[in-house]
């Protein structure tokens, strides 16, 4: 049976530069190795025969591994199909009628609880703690507060320890969507202080189609999917054995190699200062707040994000105009709007996100392509004005 290749993914001869790591990451070799090991196994993990038991063993080992990352008991890990499902399971399954979400949450949180009260953010995209405190206190019903650890579009990191403390003070549960942060900054459930944590494998070097909701305490959870009673009755469906094995291996590797993000931060900072040197009018959004080391949300005023993204793509540089899932949509980013960013900037913001494998050459490629684009746009607008 074939094995999943362990080499560097085929970015052909560096003529293509992938800077959309927040959308998805390449598979880590450790994940590929772990997946190759279980690919040939055909058992259903619920079967009692030896094939089944071997599959079950691999899953429970992975569960233990993922739990250890968050310093939480293994039985708290519920494997699901990804971050979107995990967010739904937390918001719909917590049993709390009252739900509060930050205005910059991912669509999968916002759409899971469309009636939820919105917690506003400041101009850097950070939840205002006083506002949150007042909002939670205003209604005595037991609540669930959902705030992400780091934003997918801007990389802005929320003060989740303080948010968790506020929630606890008022008897509210705290859910933290850590999909973008996991693997990029250190996390454990105690520092986050969350009752529920959402993780996604394909954002940290694991395969797509697998994620987890980690329940850190002894909390009841109403399932979203009913059926065979897998995952202690909290998520029915035959477990995705290969995905789970890859997820756990990637999570371990990401944690062990978290220091690589010091280098990534330096690259990202170099990219931003390079931009500032080329274009005094470019704006980095959320720059005043603590941010993930890999993400830059950059606005080139007056040039549509789509135009920038297409031009960069033609030059072999892959970035995005925001969240991948809404890339097909034309609507403006709710994240930037919540930060009070003006419509001209909202429509002209691209997301550049780096990863553990990004290099100085990638940054240089981006800056070259971006400079060409900038000169062309600014040149033509100057030309238009002259004419």
């Amino acid at each position: 049976m074939g094995e999943i290749a362990r080499g560097r993914p085929g970015v052909s001869a560096r003529t293509e530069t992938y800077l959309d790591w927040n959308a998805t990451t390449p598979l880590r070799p450790e994940a590929a190795a772990a997946m190759s090991e279980v690919l040939a196994r055909c058992g259903n993990p619920s079967s009692v025969h030896r094939w089944g038991r071997a599959a079950r063993q691999a899953i429970e080992q992975a569960r233990f591994t993922v739990a250890a990352l968050l310093d939480t008991p293994a039985e708290g890990v519920v494997f699901v199909s990804g971050g979107t499902e995990a967010n739904h399971l937390a918001l719909l399954g917590s049993g709390r009628d009252r739900v509060l979400v930050s205005a910059v949450e991912h669509d999968s949180v916002l759409r899971a609880a469309p009636e939820a009260e919105r917690i506003s953010v400041d101009c850097d995209g950070v939840v205002v703690l006083d506002t949150l405190d007042r909002l939670v206190a205003a209604d005595p019903r037991p609540a669930l507060v959902s705030v992400m650890l780091a934003n997918n579009e801007t990389g802005v990191v929320q003060p989740v320890a303080a948010i968790g403390a506020i929630a606890r003070t008022h008897g509210a549960l705290f859910h933290c969507d850590a999909v973008q942060a996991a693997g990029k900054i250190t996390l454990d459930a105690r520092t986050i202080g969350a009752d529920f944590v959402t993780l996604s494998a394909h954002k940290l070097g694991g395969p797509p189609g697998i994620g987890a909701l980690v329940v850190t305490g002894e909390l009841e959870l109403t399932p979203l999917l009913h059926g065979g009673g897998q995952e202690r009755g909290r998520r029915a469906g035959t477990e995705n054995l290969v995905g789970i094995a890859g997820f756990a291996a990637a999570a371990v590797a990401a944690t062990e190699e978290i220091a690589v993000y010091d280098r990534v931060r330096a690259l990202r900072d170099a990219l931003e200062s390079g931009l500032a040197a080329i274009a005094p009018d470019a704006v980095v959004l959320g720059a005043a707040a603590p941010r993930l080391p890999n993400t830059a949300a950059i606005a080139m005023p007056g040039v549509a994000a789509e135009t920038q993204v297409i031009a960069l793509d033609l030059d072999g540089v892959m970035v995005s105009a925001g969240a991948a899932c809404s890339s097909g949509k034309v609507g403006p980013s709710h994240v930037l709007e919540a930060m009070g960013v003006g419509p001209d900037l909202v429509g002209s913001t691209i997301r550049v996100s780096l990863g553990w494998d990004s290099s100085e050459a990638d940054v240089a490629h981006f800056l070259r392509a971006w400079t060409r684009l900038y000169r062309r746009c600014r040149g033509s607008s100057l030309g238009a004005r002259a004419a």
Binding site: I4, T24, L27, S108, L225, V242, M318
Partner: protein, 416 residues
């Protein structure tokens, strides 16, 4: 780049070698076909783009591969690719079909009598029954129809159960424990004539028998990857466009899959189930003949050597590779333990650790003792004649010995 830690990949070969029992549990899961794996591999590594990143080539390549897969699956069931939504598996597809239809009907009631009733069978898979149970708690009414001793639904009883309040009928295409195939076209015609939606859990049937959502007038159909030699963690729900079937999503967010199922699509898994469907489409007819011959060989061999052996469920209208026997007087778990070289089961994997007798066999009218002696055998694409002969010997020897121990030795001759 991280250094590649050389994982001891070879270890698994010793583990998976002769030490592992012969796999005869293809209803619970199937081995990933090497051709499927080969198709999936590039999408784990080189082509890792997020298929929803429309702005760059990596994303577009992934999206194209997914659309190709969607077409391959659609062709297998004679659907339009736009009628398919990828899910995390058949459990999610069944949950989405049943709850999604019910929730939509409640939110957007049609004029006239509200349709708030669901009709299903007592022998359906747990994920259908549990979804129905959930809906009952939400105020919907569910009718659980019994089945004939053959395991098939009585069309007359089904017709009687339908009313102007019936929203949906959910009947499995082919059964996971007894392999029995339901009269899908007849059920489809009946439902259509009454304006009732017809959902079929086809996790076991897809790729094993010919299915045609047009001819059978199926409105919603659930498919699983890992039951057709594809990967675990992916499935499909077919949702009819004409006349249009509307569902409320269970999982919302980025709006993928036409808003029916949000979440980043797992490109390698989608490619895998697509390739699995394409292989099944090409090979199904020949493979069904091969499996039927193997199945008949197994059945005849066992019947010759084990007195009193009884087949459960309709003898003719069943999946080619599926058998379910009662070994009267023998406890199934004992027999399985006595055959450590065979991977077989008492029934559904979800409940196979349970000590309760199969609710499916009970629903066929079997006594508790008989239901407790039921064993499911599932032959598959990689099953060989030699394995079947080995299984006959192993089961016959074990049955003979267990009966001798119990002081009720039959005429069964012990194998050499």
């Amino acid at each position: 780049m991280s250094s590649v830690t050389a994982a001891p990949a070879r270890r698994s070969e010793a583990y998976l070698g002769n030490a592992m029992p012969i796999y005869l549990d293809n209803q619970s899961s199937t081995r990933l076909d090497p051709r499927v794996l080969e198709a999936m591999l590039p999408y784990f590594t080189e082509q890792y783009g997020n298929p929803h990143s429309a702005s760059h080539a990596y994303g577009r390549m992934a999206a194209e591969a997914i659309e190709q897969a969607r077409s391959e699956i659609a062709a297998l069931i004679h659907a339009d690719p736009r009628e398919l939504a990828f899910t995390s598996g058949a459990t999610e597809a069944n949950n989405l079909a049943i709850k999604g239809a019910a929730h939509f009907a409640r939110l957007y009631p049609q004029s006239g009598q509200p349709r708030d009733q669901i009709v299903t069978l007592t022998t359906e898979h747990k994920c259908v029954l549990e979804s129905c149970l959930r809906l009952e708690r939400e105020g919907f009414r569910v009718i659980y129809l019994p089945v004939e001793p053959s395991g098939r639904v009585s069309l007359d009883r089904l017709a009687e159960a339908l009313s102007e309040r019936t929203l949906l009928v959910s009947v499995m295409a082919a059964h996971n424990e007894i392999g029995v195939i339901q009269p899908l076209a007849e059920i489809g015609a009946l439902c259509r004539s009454k304006g009732v939606l017809f959902h079929s859990d086809a996790a076991q049937a897809v790729g094993k028998i010919a299915l045609d959502v047009e001819e059978m007038q199926i409105d919603l159909l659930s498919i699983s990857g890992h039951k057709v030699y594809g990967p675990k963690g992916v499935g499909v729900l077919y949702v009819r466009r004409r006349p249009r079937v509307r569902l409320l999503p269970l999982i919302d967010g980025g709006g993928q899959e036409r808003g029916l199922r949000s979440g980043t699509l797992p490109t390698p898994l989608c490619v895998g189930i697509g390739r699995a469907a394409a292989i099944a489409a090409t090979e199904m007819t020949d493979e069904a003949g091969r499996l039927r011959r193997l199945r008949d060989r197994l059945q005849a061999g066992l019947a010759r050597r084990i007195p009193g052996l009884r087949l459960n469920g309709d003898a003719e209208r069943r999946l080619p590779g599926s058998l379910n026997f009662c070994f009267p007087g023998l406890a199934a778990m004992k027999l399985i333990e006595a055959c450590p070289a065979l991977a077989i089961s008492t029934g559904s994997a979800c409940t196979s650790a349970s000590v309760e007798p199969s609710y499916v066999l009970r629903a066929l009218g079997l006594s508790e003792a008989d239901a407790n002696s039921g064993i499911r055998i599932g032959l598959g694409r990689f099953t060989t004649p030699a394995e079947v002969d080995f299984a006959i010997d192993a089961l016959a020897a074990a049955a003979t010995q267990l009966r001798a121990e119990a002081g009720m030795a039959g005429e069964g001759r012990a194998p050499i």
